[in-house]
């Protein structure tokens, strides 16, 4: 099929998005377009706005300014298609401790209105090796297993965009390796992946595109292989030492 008649696949997009919490500005004029097949590493120092950006993309937080678009339409005016296309993992698991892994997934399946629930359930239980623990209350599972159930919940409705905020937190070496493999396989299926991690090397092993955030602004957005890493890191270091000097001056004046 010639490229000009290829069906366009819906993209997730931020247009000049800012997010304000009281006096503090978590995001400032961020524009970003993520297309199917992209694998984006969100990186930056603490407080750079990574989590807020992911929450805005996931439709959990409404931007103070700007727009979030899915397939060209505003996700807050027409949220259903975007929500059906997004899977999100955050610091919280979104699970109920008193319910078993299976019951949690059944609940999520009903919320997403899955017609092929049993098929999807089997697929995610297989994918995350959860069959043996499917009937155990989540409260009794280790942090690593809880993270797997949380991942299974995010994968359950077969999303096209997977947003992950520090997905490796709490996972042991074997689970981390398995998740890395899974995310690489995910990219191979032409779906989009956007994730944040504190471990740059780990992220760089998976992603092809880097979005470097600092103070709520995008400092770099482009191919990871071409990123001016030394300059970006130097920028963070000089900002940090500037902040420290300011703090020291303030305390000596007191």
């Amino acid at each position: 099929m010639p490229p000009d008649i290829l069906p366009t696949r819906p993209a997730l997009e931020l247009r000049d998005v800012s997010k304000q919490f009281g006096d503090s500005r978590a995001l400032s004029g961020v524009s970003l377009r993520v297309e199917p097949g992209d694998s984006v590493l969100l990186y930056g120092p603490n407080g750079a706005g990574k989590t807020t950006l992911l929450r805005v993309l996931a439709t959990l937080a409404r931007p103070s300014e700007g727009q979030v678009l899915y397939d060209g339409s505003d996700v807050h005016r027409n949220p259903a298609p975007a929500k059906a296309a997004i899977g999100f993992i955050s610091h919280a698991t979104f699970l109920y401790g008193e319910l078993s892994a299976r019951e949690n997934l059944e609940f999520a399946g009903t919320l997403f209105g899955l017609g092929n629930f049993e098929e999807r359930l089997t697929a995610v239980l297989d994918l995350f090796h959860l069959h043996e623990r499917a009937k155990t209350p989540v409260r009794e599972l280790s942090r690593g297993y809880q993270q797997r159930v949380s991942l299974a919940r995010a994968f359950l409705h077969d999303p096209q965009f997977l947003l992950l905020d520090e997905p490796f937190t709490g996972l042991d070496a074997a689970s981390t390796e398995a998740l890395e493999g899974l995310l690489k396989q995910w990219q191979g299926e032409g779906k989009a992946l956007i994730f944040s991690t504190h471990d740059f090397e780990q992220g760089a092993a998976i992603a092809r595109r880097l979005v470097w955030l600092e103070g709520g602004r995008v400092r770099y957005d482009g191919p990871l292989a071409m990123a001016p890493l030394a300059g970006l890191r130097q920028g963070v270091r000089s900002q940090e030492s500037g902040a420290r000097r300011k703090q020291d001056t303030g305390s000596s004046m007191q």
Binding site: K83, G97, L99
Partner: protein, 225 residues
């Protein structure tokens, strides 16, 4: 149809969670019973006075038991950000409200039955002759109270002093249902004809409908940070 399925899934989930740890219902019943017990010791009303005092006493017990239940209902959601998990799905925020509200209505209803039963034993007072009218007025007032309580519990859940915030926010708004509950129950227990206190039932029903519809429509904004 899908909205109904979502509402019933949230209702069933809350019931299942409660069945596994039984914290909410137990604390609501115990608190309601304590209020009745303390009141009995504080005032020791004579049998003739009971009729005048009981409706107010019952609604004090229902109101505080309700506060505990509404707070617990959202504490369970807060633990692992369950509400956010629901908001990630393509469901109407109003459906989340109705699912939570129905579960709260059931829990408060059970606590009310326990408290009424205890009151009838302690005060040697039979509700049976006026049970129909009393149940009707209590149902509509409870519905209104739960409609308000569920909304404000969701608002308070995002604040630091949520346990204090909930009664401060919801009691002033729920005053009409408290008044209707006390006045309507007094009429029913005195054995007045239904027509004499039907106005209080209508007030409670109207309040419940208006507040439920408003909350259904605005719950999306309540859930946002």
């Amino acid at each position: 149809m899908r909205t109904l399925r979502v509402i019933s899934a949230i209702f069933a989930k809350d019931l299942r969670v409660e069945w596994r740890h039984r914290e909410t219902l137990a604390s609501m019943c115990i608190f309601g019973l304590l209020v009745v017990f303390l009141f009995n010791f504080a005032f020791e009303p004579a049998h003739e006075e009971s009729l005048r005092l009981l409706p107010g006493l019952l609604w004090i017990a229902f109101a505080f038991a309700g506060v505990l239940g509404f707070n617990r209902s959202f504490a369970a959601e807060r633990e692992n950000e369950g509400l956010e998990g629901m908001r990630l799905a393509p469901v109407d925020a109003g459906a989340i409200y109705l699912g939570k509200m129905l579960a709260n209505l059931l829990f408060l209803g059970i606590a009310e039955v326990v408290v009424v039963f205890a009151v009838s034993l302690w005060y040697n007072f039979s509700f049976l002759p006026a049970l129909g009218g009393f149940a009707l007025v209590t149902f509509f007032c409870t519905l209104g109270y739960v409609a308000v309580g569920t909304t404000f519990a969701a608002v308070a859940a995002n604040t630091r002093m949520r346990e204090v915030m909930l009664p401060v926010l919801q009691f002033p708004v729920a005053v009409p249902v408290f008044i209707a509950g006390v006045e309507g129950a007094t009429g029913a227990l005195k054995g007045d004809p239904l027509g004499d206190y039907a106005g209080w039932i209508k007030l409670a029903a109207g309040f419940s409908i208006i507040f439920t519809v408003l909350s259904y429509m605005l719950f999306e904004y309540v859930l946002e940070e």
